[in-house]
Symmetry: C2
Subunit: 164 residues, 2 copies
């Protein structure tokens, strides 16, 4: 899926990588699961991305690093990552399950173009504030949120000569 961003992307530092691994392995220990090379590779691959990855897309990336890792393992690991908060599902209109990693990532939101399906990230502290306020108002223990704006991106508007 085409994606653009309004900020730049640096690969995760060695320290933040280690920190994320720490979270992951503490979670594994807590629920009585084991540390494996496959899980390690999958986590590292995932952290290096910034996209909204489907299981299959992550699988393809993982395969480049270790061709012996199977789809099923990626699928299961992604679920584990979501369990411990390192990954979270992002609902996109294409209906496929997509995940993005949540580690050292400023809370961000998406604008999705309904013409070309491209998604652009943006940041809005106001939205974060709203989450908090609304949770309080309705006695809901809010932990995260999801905000997407749908519409026509600038490129598509230009292409189809449809001014705002």
């Amino acid at each position: 899926m085409l994606q653009r961003r309004i900020d730049d992307h640096a690969p995760p530092s060695r320290e933040s990588m280690r920190e994320a691994q720490d979270i992951f392995y503490k979670h594994l220990k807590r629920v009585g699961l084991k540390h494996t090379d496959q899980r390690d590779t999958i986590l590292r691959t995932f952290l290096e991305t910034r996209d909204h990855l489907s299981t299959d897309e992550l699988f393809r990336l993982v395969r480049k690093k270790d061709a012996k890792i199977g789809f099923t393992t990626v699928y299961r690991t992604l679920k584990l990552l979501a369990e411990c908060g390192l990954a979270s599902a992002v609902p996109f209109p294409d209906g496929m399950a997509r995940y993005e990693h949540q580690f050292n990532r400023r809370n961000h939101h998406h604008m999705v173009c309904t013409e070309c399906d491209a998604s652009v990230e943006f940041f809005s502290p106001e939205v974060n504030k709203l989450e908090e306020e609304i949770g309080r108002k309705y006695h809901f223990d809010a932990t995260r949120h999801n905000f997407q704006i749908y519409g026509i991106c600038e490129d598509c508007r230009k292409r189809t000569r449809r001014p705002i």
Copy 2:
């Protein structure tokens, strides 16, 4: 899917029903499609709901009115309704495609409990304002948005004795 609301639900008035049908049939005409009883029944059934319906759930409702209407037709009609803006997909964590109708419906948002999957609607004019502002800021022709807050609802919190 369990759903609660913070406002009351009245069935659509005869006029708004007609208005929606008008939108639908104008759209059909525009793209060279035909008016059929099935499409009529499906649209009417859909407008009478206020839920986040999967295709199958709508199909079951439609079947009560006309048992001869097939799943495929409901599926295809729902797509048509989405095309002309009368329906829109709501991404829920269960992964199934869910639609809600957009006709004469105040713009609303959802709080989804990650414990029991219940969803509660809420209204926030601020979110609508944000959509507009952000669209302007990033030169994005925003037409609609999607805002969901995930967390633990009051009931689940009480049940598990986990105070805020």
